[in-house]
Symmetry: C2
Subunit: 346 residues, 2 copies
DNA sequence: CTGAAAGCGCTTACAG
DNA sequence: CTGAAAGCGCTTACAG
């Protein structure tokens, strides 16, 4: 019914092999022949049938994108934007993204994304934390894989990470250069490497500024084990202020937690930045619309998706032996939760 | 390298046709033979190669999921959850979701999702509003298609919609049964059918309660043409209160807009529900965490995705001739932005 | 109920 | 630089 490579070959008066070579860009075809064939292809708007290409070449042209269901539906759209970036870049390589969500627990091998067992992908992107059992399982599959904003100790993968430590350092420099030194930290949820790095960055930056006594003082830190949240910020700041009433600033592990701090301040009839400076991390959609707007660290989410896809393609095509980690730079975004600008909002 | 249907046939001492019939469940195979073959399949954990199946059967086993980039990265995770539901249901039919985002403008035919021109999907789901040109283009392709939370006048598609009018009606009943009648509306952005229906639902419900004078009175309505937002709610309530100082309640077109109203109230040193009742719509993640938590209407997002996928499969397999619209019920969620409960938060 | 065989539309050594 | 041909791993009439 549809037009095939045979038709094109006939019209162009060449063999199907030649048409195939023109399409793939591989091998040698004379310029004359190439142009002739290309003209016919364009004229008929011919697109090779993917399944036939796949079967013959034993490549799928698909990328599996794995993300936890909670991350995909998180309100901050953090990972959605990474997905967006990956999809954009996939187009440039004429590949498709197969999406699969996974729950917090996974049942090996039944619960693993189908494309893994079915050999339906050429490579895999894992965005954000997923059950470690799944990571081990994927490692054993020996399929090219890139992790974005995730890492598992002892498993060597290509990965795209953001520079969490530097981000926190920028926040602390911003505070210290404005004379603030009594700086607390609220967050935790060390199940995720990024979260952990942010706390480490906080400690390192303080030490580098001769504030090691604060970095070491647990009264300045509220850390929890599980998922960060608004409530975590709310409760965390309450506890910190009880222990350290003279606290001048609180660094939150992310924007969501920071809104919890703002919420708590409001409840006790205080506010940022007047009574205490509050900072977030991630620069998610809502961070510019809190009251006051949050000083935070922008993470280029779409770009992380793009870079992840690029790295994966590189791995699929060239199979480099050494695993790479690309650290994506982040950038401080100063808003009013640390220092009021001329547009005073109180 | 990998195990094929031929191997299975050989081990089971039957023909490949029989193995194929066992796998697909089509045709007649004796129970004895079926069991014998199935045992071998299980034993070797054999999975048919998808591309070979596709090529031979001229079915792709893929569903194209189209969503605008702004919707995918919206902070409310509304459409992400619809995607989640579709993906969950796709597994039940052993189909894959191919995701494609589209921008606000689309260039036909170059900018259309690749899987459309390449015949790489058996069916399409469109979630939320996309450029109408794309919808026309897809109609002309005659591929089975289901729209979720979207509609285009004059184009007949299967669709999954939520009962927006009923949702607003529930809000208004809730308000009126508590003695509130001076009810305004903030929202707009009629580019999206759901948005329009919510305003219509507001008007209809008022008329049904003998409040037609309010339904007709433009002083009670703040409507804009473009994307709804926090600012829209903020500005909208300001304008409404200027025109109608005695306003008792404001119904917002969605939760995001409602947070804008809360923000405005705070700025003028007032609050909900004391000075004015505020309601949202959608019940997105953050709506329980605003201050005060929002009374809103829950939309079962994941379920909408599931239903959309089911309807699409039905269409692909059975090709019913009449287009269906399934209206998903919604449910009022009462929180403190309308009436304080015992856990008084002030 | 089962098997032999053609065919799906490509790619890729191979020969020239 | 180009063509003839085998082969990728399935499905599906068709014959029996």
């Amino acid at each position: 019914m549809s037009i095939t490579i045979k038709d094109i070959a006939k019209f162009a008066e060449v063999s199907t092999s030649t048409v195939s070579l023109v399409i793939s860009g591989k091998g040698y075809v004379s310029n004359d022949t190439r142009e002739k064939v290309q003209k016919i292809i364009d004229e008929y708007n011919y697109k090779p049938l993917r399944s036939a290409q796949q079967l013959a070449s034993s490549q799928t042209g698909n990328i599996g994108f794995i993300i936890s269901d909670i991350h995909l539906s998180r309100s901050e759209a953090f990972y959605s934007r990474i997905l967006l970036g990956a999809e954009l870049e996939a187009r440039n390589h004429d590949m498709y993204i197969l999406l699969s969500t996974v729950g917090a627990k996974i049942d090996i091998p039944h619960g693993v994304p189908r494309f893994l067992n079915n050999h339906d992908v050429d490579g895999i992107i894992i965005a954000g934390s997923v059950p470690v059992d799944l990571v081990y399982c994927i490692r054993d599959l020996k399929i090219p894989t890139v992790l974005i904003d995730y890492r598992v100790d002892g498993v060597d993968f290509d990965s795209i990470l953001m520079d969490n430590r530097n981000g926190v350092q920028q926040i602390i420099n911003h505070l210290i250069s404005n004379g603030i030194t009594k700086i607390g930290f609220v967050g935790g949820s060390f199940y995720h490497p990024s979260i952990k790095e942010r706390f480490e960055g906080y400690q390192i930056a303080l030490v580098n500024n001769n504030l090691g006594h604060i970095a070491q003082n647990e009264d300045y830190h509220y850390l929890i084990d599980y998922e960060t949240s608004v409530e975590c910020g709310d409760r965390g700041l309450a506890i910190l202020l009880k222990k350290v009433p003279e606290l001048e600033a609180v660094i939150c592990v992310n924007d969501t937690t920071a809104t919890g701090c703002l919420q708590y301040l409001k409840r006790i009839d205080k506010s940022a930045p007047k009574d205490i400076k509050v900072t977030g991390f991630d620069n998610v959609n809502f961070s510019a619309f809190t009251n006051p707007p949050l000083t935070t660290v922008n993470v280029p989410k779409v770009q992380m998706g793009v870079e992840g896809l690029k790295l994966l393609i590189d791995r699929i095509q060239n199979g480099i032996s050494v695993h790479q980690t690309r650290l994506i730079p982040v950038e401080l975004v100063v808003r009013e939760s640390t220092f009021l600008t001329d547009t005073n909002n109180d």
